[in-house]
């Protein structure tokens, strides 16, 4: 209450009288408002510090733009010298993504039951499982890949395992969250039939969570495909290998050809995954139900469109997984044995040698954080306008809408690391290339989220603004933006999360950050030092995740 007082002498006498005699012309400072401003100011201050610390000047940007243009000239026209080889590498990339996701699902399903509060056998098991999931999420996939390539040699299997382990971080968490949100009633009904604890979960809980799990699985394949195209950079299989080859040899037209292939594949899969999700998760689209008219009672479920598509999709995933094992020459037993290698690598990282944590590591970590901050700032500045234009109900013209949507879709289809490679080739090694790549890449994520948020705004306030004679700009600032602020803040924090995680691996392609030291440490077999760096990355990512979770809870 006291905060609403303006400090004049009449403050006390106002208590108990009507609000009309002393109008408060300034909005009261409520807690969310204070937090929002505090976070906003801190973000601006940190961004300025970050910009200074990596010497990110406007001049650099302008020069960089010229360099990118001249690089683009050298890349044109794109060429594709050996189509069969590129095609087989592209297929290999797809299969790696699929296999990694399938293995992650197999690992995550039981882990999720241990990690969900309502199905875990014990509190300690719950904590351990959640901890393991968080660890998998906090260690970037490429870090896993580098370690596994070191332990098992160059090949496809390390890439598959790296994708699988990192994916457990997301699948395990979302699977467990779905279990925690399930209705306890059906479980109790199963228990009341005298079935044991396992069948209680299989028949009482699993049917409830399957749709959410499928949605998560499809979404994760999408993400893994993006990563699998760059696994080749560290020798873990796929089309990234050919791309790196082309770049190393400075054969830019061929590199562009490969990048275009990647973009087309990812965009096609994006569209396919939208269609699949729509088909699998929207029930009751199969028209009116008729009682079965056949002779005699029907004892098996009828073939509805829904059942048919689910069955075909399941069979397709199973077949593709089998084909992946055969064509990538992966023996399922090798996958099992390889977990021995994984454990062995983990063992070599221990104990982490923090003795070598010197100035260089400190500086590299600051640089990593700075890249993440600057990239997020660039991302927000670019994505908010583009995202708004990519909202069907905000865009002033359908052509603008389609143009903005296409920009978002194309950027989404280019993995950040490939953007980083391009920027490194254009403006040279260092954190500025990394920040530009991540910032530009942010449009793919944040632009889409902003557009979706804007399309969901309540049309009422806009009609109100129009009815008092407001134009497009007034409508935007008085009706659309205020409604999207909470979700834009939330999405930006999520973007910061993602960008800092990615900036820890930019070092692979020489775009700055702590990744360079990490890969050096692994290359020179200095595993204890690598262990220390991984531990620090884990702590940073974990803290950022907690911090952004806290801020989101305050603001929303």
């Amino acid at each position: 209450m006291t905060r609403t007082r303006t400090g004049n002498a009449g403050g006390d006498s106002r208590v108990g009288s009507g609000p009309m005699d002393d109008p408060v012309l300034r909005p009261p400072l409520t807690r969310p408002v204070v937090t929002l401003w505090g976070v906003g100011l801190a973000a601006v201050a940190l961004t300025v510090i970050a910009v200074i610390s990596i010497d990110f000047g406007l001049g650099a940007l302008v020069d960089g733009f010229d360099d990118v243009v001249s690089l683009a000239e050298r890349m044109l026209p794109p060429r594709m010298p050996d189509p069969p080889r590129i095609a087989s590498l592209a297929v290999e990339t797809l299969l790696i993504a699929l296999l990694g996701t399938v293995i992650a699902t197999v690992l995550s399903a039981p882990l999720a039951f241990l990690a969900a509060r309502n199905t875990t056998p014990h509190r300690a098991v719950h904590a351990a499982a959640r901890g393991l999931i968080t660890f998998c999420r906090a260690v970037p996939d490429l870090v896993f890949a580098v370690l596994f390539v070191r332990a098992m040699g160059i090949g496809v299997l390390p890439g598959v395992l790296a994708l699988a382990l990192h994916s457990v971080g997301m699948l395990g968490k979302l699977f467990a969250d779905a279990i925690e949100q399930s209705d306890p009633g059906p479980r109790e009904a199963v228990r009341a039939t005298g079935a044991g604890p396992v069948r209680e979960l299989v028949n009482g809980v699993l049917p409830q969570v399957v749709p959410a799990w499928i949605g998560t699985f499809v979404y994760r394949i999408d993400i893994n495909l993006r990563t699998s195209v760059v696994l080749g950079f560290v020798g873990a299989g796929g089309i990234g290998f050919a791309l790196q080859d082309a770049l190393r040899g400075l054969v830019y037209p061929r590199a562009l050809g490969i990048v275009l292939v990647i973009v087309v594949i990812i965009a096609a899969l994006e569209l396919a995954s939208i269609a699949i999700r729509r088909l699998l998760l929207n029930p009751e689209s199969s028209g009116p139900k008729r009682p079965s008219a056949g002779p005699g009672p029907r004892l098996s479920p009828p073939w509805t469109v829904q059942r048919l598509s689910t069955t075909i999709a399941a069979a397709a995933v199973a077949l593709a997984t089998g084909y992946a094992l055969v064509s990538l020459r992966i023996n399922p037993l090798d996958v099992l044995w390889s977990f021995g290698d994984v454990v062995e690598v983990a063992g070599r990282l221990l104990p982490p040698d923090f003795g070598m944590v010197g100035d260089r590591l400190g500086a590299a970590i600051v640089e990593t954080l700075a890249i993440g901050m600057v990239a997020t700032a660039i991302g927000v500045l670019l994505s908010v306008p583009i995202g708004l234009l990519a909202a069907r109900n905000v865009a002033p013209h359908p052509a603008v809408y389609w143009a903005a949507r296409s920009v978002v879709l194309v950027v989404r289809a280019i993995p950040e690391l490939i953007l980083a490679v391009v920027f490194v080739a254009a403006i040279g090694l260092g954190p500025i290339a990394g920040a530009c790549a991540l910032g530009l890449g942010s449009i793919g994520l944040l632009g889409k989220l902003v557009a979706d948020a804007a399309e969901e705004v309540d049309p009422g306030p806009r009609a109100a603004v129009r009815s008092v004679g407001g134009g497009w700009w007034q409508e935007l600032f008085s009706a659309v933006l205020p409604q999207t602020v909470p979700s834009v803040v939330g999405s930006s924090l999520y973007l910061l999360d993602v960008n800092i995680r990615t900036s820890t691996v930019l070092g692979i392609v020489g775009a700055g950050g702590v990744g360079f030291l990490l890969f050096e440490a692994v290359r020179t077999l200095n595993f204890e030092f690598a262990g220390a760096i991984i531990a620090i990355i884990f702590v940073i990512v974990y803290l950022i995740e907690r911090l952004s979770g806290w801020i989101r809870a305050q603001v929303m």
């Binding site: 109790e188 009904a189 005298g194 299989v202 028949n203």
Partner: protein, 277 residues
Amino acid sequence: MAGTATVPAGDPRPVIGVRGLTKRFAGTPAVDDVDLEVRGGELVVLLGLSGSGKSTLLRCLNGLHRPSSGEVDVLGCRVDLAREGRLRRLRTRIGFVFQQFNLVGRLSCMENVLIGALGRVRGPRYGVLSYPKSMRREALEHLDRVGLADRAFQRADTLSGGQQQRVAIARTLMHRPALLLADEPVASLDPENAAVVMELLFQVCLEERLTVVCSLHQVDLALGWAHRLVGLREGRKVLDQPAAGMSRHDVMRVYERVAQPQPEQPTPPRAQSEAVA
């Protein structure tokens, strides 16, 4: 039809024997020193206000809750002493109908009914086709009995509340219980559906000569169908008497509160407006 209201002559062996049953939640007794005996083929209705301990008592009978003290003997098994494995075997012989139906909404009615058979099949089951054909035929017969055979492959959550509870009853029949416990099976249905579903349930139970303990809020239904009425008030048994000859008035005594707290004095309007300003 209804209103036989005489204790069946055959099978005098007690199916349920409860002595001094107390169940506390965080120190507060929900069921307090209750004795109860139910013989084979008897249909007993539990009455009582909300919070009087009806659900708690029923859940102590099949071991979904562990008693704090007292003896619970059901179908020859000491529920209060039994280990989890023994309880599970006991539960395969006790049907339970829940107030909230507890169907898996996404699954078809057929699969929900088949879940009732889990206690008598081995190995994991998932999906209608994982159950043998004979069981599917049986499930369809039970659905037919509750009038829903034509809905067998419709998703359970697309049915009305009354239809869902009928599916749940079919699930319990699939279970082939020797004893049926029902916890306010019609509390979330409208009065008309409630009467239809309840009569269906009681009719089936009488036909199958099932022993039934059912908690209920509908006094008239209870008087019409039960052999015996048991009343609970604040966890204690306050009525236990054959239904034959009882009047509605006799039963309503169960619902009288012991000490009714005075309703709080409403705040005067003037004071309220000051508090707001």
